[in-house]
């Protein structure tokens, strides 16, 4: 008899029709501007530059090593390296980017720049409402637009950022320990110079 399968199908749509009024699992649509999906932590779209502290110009982690520029598959990053150097978070003198542009109309959000960065200076953002009426200038982000604080990073990717911070802290602690050690060694050396016996040897030299 013709029509059995058709009737079965009709029953199924009817079930879905009524089910969509009672079952949240069926009606998965989210009414976007008023209601938003919870932010998934791993989400990525476009890169940004992380800075420590409050002043983005001071705290920018990027040392303009230009690895990301080279590795970027669609070549959407443009970096100009500074001539001078200034101390980074650990106090080491480093170069910094005088220009750091990302054309997010070209960027394909692959996050390879993030993977290859040895300094944890570039990370992926989660902002997605980026529409603009200027499709060239408006989507070419410069250093200032790209710079976001470490607090922001901690907010959008807590787990990842915590790991990065811990690594930094460890590194800093190591550096401090090293510095302390060096200082101690220096102090010890200095102390040694002050000790009579040692003083003599130096004097001999």
């Amino acid at each position: 008899m013709i029509g059995e399968g058709i009737l079965k199908g009709l029953a199924e749509t009817a079930r879905n029709f009524f089910g969509s009024y009672v079952n949240k699992d069926r009606l998965t649509t989210v009414q976007f501007p008023e209601e938003r999906l919870p932010q998934i932590e791993a989400t990525r779209d476009f890169p940004f530059l992380v800075y420590d502290g409050t002043d983005w110009q001071q705290g920018l982690r990027c040392v303009s090593c230009q690895i990301c520029e080279k590795e970027c598959p669609p070549k959407c990053i443009y970096i100009e390296k500074s001539k001078d150097k200034k101390p980074d978070a650990t106090g080491k003198p480093q170069s910094y980017p005088t220009t750091f542009n990302i054309d997010i109309s070209v960027c394909m959000s692959c996050q390879i720049c993030v993977e290859v960065c040895p300094f944890d200076a570039i990370k992926m953002d989660v902002a997605f409402e980026l529409s603009t009426d200027d499709r060239f200038g408006g989507l070419l982000l410069n250093r200032e637009q790209l710079a976001k604080s470490n607090e922001y990073y901690n907010k959008i990717h807590p787990t990842e950022a915590a790991a990065v911070d811990a690594a930094f802290a460890e590194e800093r602690a190591k550096a401090e320990a090293k510095a302390r050690q060096a200082a101690e060694a220096k102090a010890a050396a200095a102390a040694q110079t002050l000790t009579p016996g040692a003083g003599e040897t130096t004097r001999v030299q």
Binding site: E12, N16, T28, A42, S109, C110
Partner: protein, 386 residues
Amino acid sequence: MSVLTEAPVDLTPSQSDDRTDSQLLEVSMGPQHPSTHGVFRMDVALDGERVVKLKPVFGYLHRNHEKIAETESYLGCMPYTDRLDYICSITNNWAYALAVEKLAGIQVPERAEYLRVITGELTRLQNHAGLVGFLMQDMGASGTPLMYAFREREKILDLFEALTGARMMCNYMRFGGCRVDAPAGWLQQAQKVIDAFPRFLDEFERLLVSNEILMARTQGVGVVSREQAVNAGISGPMARASGVNYDLRKVDKYGIYDRFSFRVPLGENGDVYDRYMLRVLEMRESVEILKQAMRDVPSGPIMDPNTKTRGFRPKAGEAYGRIEGPKGELGFYLISDGSSNPYRFRVRPPSLINLTLLEDMCLGQNVADIVIILGSVDIVLGEVDR
């Protein structure tokens, strides 16, 4: 692009030529057409509603993928593979990673293999779900099956986003493992989705599988014989629908597929209905694989510690890595000259090769059949045109 010497339909062009040209209606279907699954064109000559000539025209989405890859680093090619078959980026990543791993002789840790199987089979689920939905849409079912399929696909895409950060362009695999480990709770979330998936399949079968209109539309339409399928190099569900027992998960046992017990459904008629049903059945088998993988997934590292991210240079040589993608055999052929870029980069796109039989399938059929035949081939133009 006839593959066999004798035409499969008795309505050969020489016979139709004696009809005056004014009686043939030449229609250009595409590149702007709702059912060409992208920017694909078919120059069709119609006698009434029957197709007497069909010329596939593609290349509208050509992006020079293989040549660009020669100027990129090995790692830099990875995100480009996402964009081949943009529905199933993870399996593309996998095939490419497999090729590079063969080239450089890299071992993949246990947990990474399991994650690859889990994400790969989830990709197969969402691809097949989307495909059967789109096929129904081509058949004019006003979007209901498609919406059900997309409802389920969304859940899988949410999983992908939680794992890889992106819903479609996942860029997940790396040479010697996976990019990130599953975050806390991800496996439990995935288990929930996998457990709920058979419910969707039941619903889908109730909605359509025994539907008379569907059967009348698809059975006996677009038949590909076993010989034709083998001769044309068809792979994937389309070959299996014609009765060719060829599944790389069984043939190559790449990765850790020898550890799972699953069956390979085979069709007999090789028509649109078989192709459609095989996808539904394969989804059930994929769920079985996923259940086993979720049960056995070990803990441990996810990356081979000896593989460098920066400055990766495999030694000179060549390698071909292939996997059973949702659409068929997806292979990457790489030649390395020892530098950081591939010397030659070649993709074996299942979509394109499965599409070569389109004319043979369509001749003598109706206009309406072209659309569903094309839909049943399961093409993504990103992969066809590259």
